[in-house]
């Protein structure tokens, strides 16, 4: 399964894929360097990772045309690990991340994505954009005006040049022009070379130099778990975005496994953990990339460029990298979501904003998604809970009160049902008619029990109608009830 691919996947769009792959590779170089700096490791760690992850996912991945490499979302999670324990532990964590992702792939955990609502996805993407932008700020504080000038000039070239010519990647042009200019003028600004080692050889196979003990696992596991979750979230969201853009399906479980294998590979080649990248994948599609070849070309060209032009790459001023990253951040941000704030329901907006705020606060996308999903679930429960009402009717002649419960009774609406019963009314007979109600959980049943006992205490004779049918919905296993006619039987009027 993991290796299956058709000839079309690879050779269906050779020209488009090759050109797009080169464009992506050129944009990946500054990103990989920038993300290495965020994580606190040498640029070569991010560059080797980007090469390895791109190449492996191109072959194994479930979403042709998607670009995976070293990413900001992952880099942010490893900062403290690198600071406290060093690079070797990062490599071990990267491999463990891969193992966890492969397990997730086999357990088909990707299907859990259906609980992640649209608002959470939007929040995730926006938070990611904000994090990438914030990560650039250290490069822009306490620096000479030269750096600002370089960054501004970089942004100007990136956004204005495409108006004249769309056949040359404008980020590449910005990098070439401004590197040449700053070297020629001898500007005293920070360059990529000041930040640590660049790759000088093709990557070498190395087992991480950590003791294989339980202590190591204790250090590494929490990071690996976070990395695995964030990596899969971003990869699956990116895959969905590419599905939409290209109108083609993808295999999400296979993508999970491929991300895992790619991360194990990255760890063995001295690279950091990575995942799919929204911005780069959009650039790939925009540049005409569709097949597996585009990702393979991107990874290979990236490595060849860096190894053969090491000296030139080390002269790139940081200011230009910052401008490229600002572009990625702007392109990743979902601007439509700001416009939609006015028209979308408040609950959706709150879910989106909560996701953004939690992520920016914790620098961990997994927490943001968790908060967003929980909040969305609460809003949903609250809303469905409103679909319940009780009508009551008094029969003077027989001194009887009938309550008719209609709608969804569960933890969010059980209290409301109880409140609708008038226990203080002195009647000799009470009828609770559940024929149009659905009991979803034990809370609903115990609320009914409570009501029955209370009425009995007040001296009324009580009759409950239709309880069995109403409580048929309390089933954890949905096996028998997954046919439309069975669902109708349970949910229809009994």
């Amino acid at each position: 399964m993991l290796l299956s691919s058709t000839r079309r996947d690879w050779l269906g769009n050779v020209r488009g894929d090759s050109l797009a792959g080169i464009v992506v590779a050129l944009a990946l170089i500054p990103e990989a360097i920038a993300f290495s700096i965020i994580a606190g490791v040498d640029p070569k760690v991010g560059l080797y990772a980007s090469f390895c992850i791109a190449v492996l996912t191109s072959i194994l991945g479930g979403r042709p045309g998607m670009i995976s490499a070293a990413t900001g979302a992952m880099a942010l999670l490893m900062v403290t690990l690198v600071k406290d324990h060093g690079l070797q532990y990062l490599l071990a964590a990267t491999m463990l991340t891969g193992v966890l992702q492969i397990i997730a792939g086999y357990l088909k955990l990707g299907e859990l994505m259906r609980f992640v609502s649209r608002s959470v996805v939007t929040g995730f993407v926006n938070a990611l954009a904000i994090l990438i932008f914030l990560a650039q700020l250290p490069e822009l504080t306490d620096v000479s005006w030269h750096t600002y000038a370089v960054t501004a000039a970089g942004l100007a070239i990136i956004y204005l040049f495409p108006l004249i010519n769309k056949t040359l990647p404008s980020p590449l042009l910005a990098i070439l022009a401004l590197t040449a200019a700053s070297t020629y003028l001898g500007l005293d600004i920070r360059t990529v070379g000041d930040l640590g080692a660049l790759p000088d050889t093709l990557p070498i196979f190395l087992w991480p130099d950590v003791p294989l003990t339980l202590d190591t696992l204790k250090i590494v596991f929490p990071y690996a778990a976070g990395l695995a979750v964030v990596g899969l979230l971003e990869s699956l969201m990116t895959a969905t975005i590419i599905d939409d853009l290209t109108d083609t399906p993808s295999d999400k479980s296979r993508e999970c496994k491929a991300q895992g294998i790619a991360n194990i590979g990255a760890g063995l080649l001295g690279g950091m953990a990575g995942c799919a990248m929204i911005g780069q994948s959009v650039i790939n599609i925009k540049s005409g990339g569709r097949g597996r070849l585009s990702t393979l070309v991107a990874g290979t060209v990236l490595l060849l460029m860096v190894v053969f032009f090491e000296e030139q790459v080390s002269m790139i001023p940081m200011g230009v990298l910052v401008s490229v990253m600002i572009m990625v951040s702007i392109g990743t941000f979902n601007w439509g979501s700001i416009r939609d704030l006015k028209t979308y329901p408040l609950s959706s907006n709150l879910v989106m904003l909560t996701t953004v705020i939690v992520v920016v606060w914790t620098h961990n996308l997994a927490y943001g998604v968790l908060a967003g999903v929980l909040l969305a679930a609460l809003f949903f429960a609250n809303r469905v809970g409103r679909f319940m009402y009780v009508v009551s009717e008094r029969n003077e002649a027989e001194d009887r009160r009938s309550y008719k419960v209609v709608g969804q009774v569960f933890f969010a609406s059980a209290e409301k049902m109880l409140a609708a019963f008038d226990f203080k009314e002195a009647v000799s007979k009470v009828v609770i008619d559940l024929n149009r109600a659905h009991f979803w959980d034990i809370t609903a049943v115990s609320a009914l029990d409570k009501a029955v006992i209370k009425f009995r205490r007040e001296g009324a004779e009580i009759e409950v109608r239709g309880l069995n049918e109403a409580s048929e919905t309390i089933i954890d296993r949905f096996g028998v009830h997954d046919k439309p006619e069975e669902i109708d039987k349970v949910l229809g009027e009994h």
Binding site: R7, V282, K286, M327
Partner: protein, 292 residues
């Protein structure tokens, strides 16, 4: 075949049309089989979505709302392309319909579907009684040394009889059954035994490359079955490389339709020795009816 019709729902002869040079022959054969099997005929045109990017902007810059703008752009370009393809496909289907109506089919059903051909066929598999398709489609029209892009994948994926058309229509007069005792070739034998339409046609029962004792045992039992169903049987046991031998037998005896089992060996063996089915598909100059 006849008792199968009784218990199953209406299944159809499905002909795949793509406007390549075999399309009209596909129509003719499909019409002939539809009448023979008295099964309804459906003509399918599949809209392939091109892998080639509809647009490309190599600037590599993404800015405000790039993703939304890109989706909008790709959607409108592909909408135009697909509208044209649908229009074109309708014309092909109309021409095909006229052709099969002339051949005596009262009311063929016309279908158009998006997605790859193999995927479409898998989705429709349960309704297929017999699938008729050309050996090469529009993509590989010039390329005589390759099979069509979808053919092998479709044959492997489907478990229905498939007629592969590779020449102009000629009403089948002489039938060859390539019989090696495998389950798939057994199905081919059964099809001949059970089908009324084939009874008056002579059947060449050919076994290649088996040891003499096995070959004669296989042939005896098969001959018996065929004869009891009213066929004239011409039995032959041949030596040599199966696909080449069968091909030359086809030519020598002017066979117009060959029935054989397809892809009945393991993938590993096929990988090492090459698939006999693929070789037959490449070398045969007359239609093959493949059974899985």
């Amino acid at each position: 075949m006849s008792n199968e019709t009784e218990k199953s729902v209406i299944t159809e002869v499905l002909a795949c049309i793509d406007g390549s040079r075999y399309s009209s022959a596909v129509c003719d054969y499909a019409a002939w089989f539809s009448l023979s099997l008295s099964a309804p005929l459906t003509l399918l045109h599949n809209l392939e979505h091109s892998e080639n990017a509809a647009s490309s902007d190599l600037s590599g810059a993404i800015g405000l709302g790039s993703r939304e703008a890109l989706l909008e752009e790709l959607t409108s370009i592909e909408a135009q392309r697909n509208k044209l393809l649908i229009e074109q496909g309708k014309l092909m289907l109309d021409a095909a319909k006229a052709r099969v109506v002339a051949a005596g089919i009262a009311a063929p059903t016309l279908k158009q579907r998006h997605d790859g051909l193999t995927e479409s066929l898998i989705a429709m598999e349960n309704d297929i009684r017999l699938l008729v398709l050309g050996v090469r489609g529009e993509e590989h029209a010039q390329d005589a040394h390759h099979l069509g892009g979808h053919l092998e994948a479709s044959i492997r994926a489907l478990h229905r009889p498939i007629l592969v058309v590779n020449c102009d229509f000629k009403e089948p007069k002489k039938i060859m059954l390539a019989y090696d005792g495998s389950e798939a070739s057994g199905k081919a034998l059964e099809l001949l035994v059970n089908s009324q339409r084939f009874t008056h046609l002579p059947v060449h029962l050919v076994t290649v490359g088996e040891s003499p004792s096995t070959a004669s045992a296989l042939q005896d039992s098969a001959t018996q079955k065929l004869q009891s169903a009213g066929h004239t049987v011409i039995a032959a046991t041949l030596e040599g490389e199966p696909s080449k031998t069968l091909h030359s037998y086809q030519d020598d005896h002017d066979i117009d339709l060959t029935l054989m089992g397809a892809f009945s060996h393991t993938r590993l063996r096929e990988w090492v020795l090459g698939s006999m089915t693929v070789k037959m598909l490449l070398s045969s100059s007359r239609p093959l009816l493949l059974l899985r």
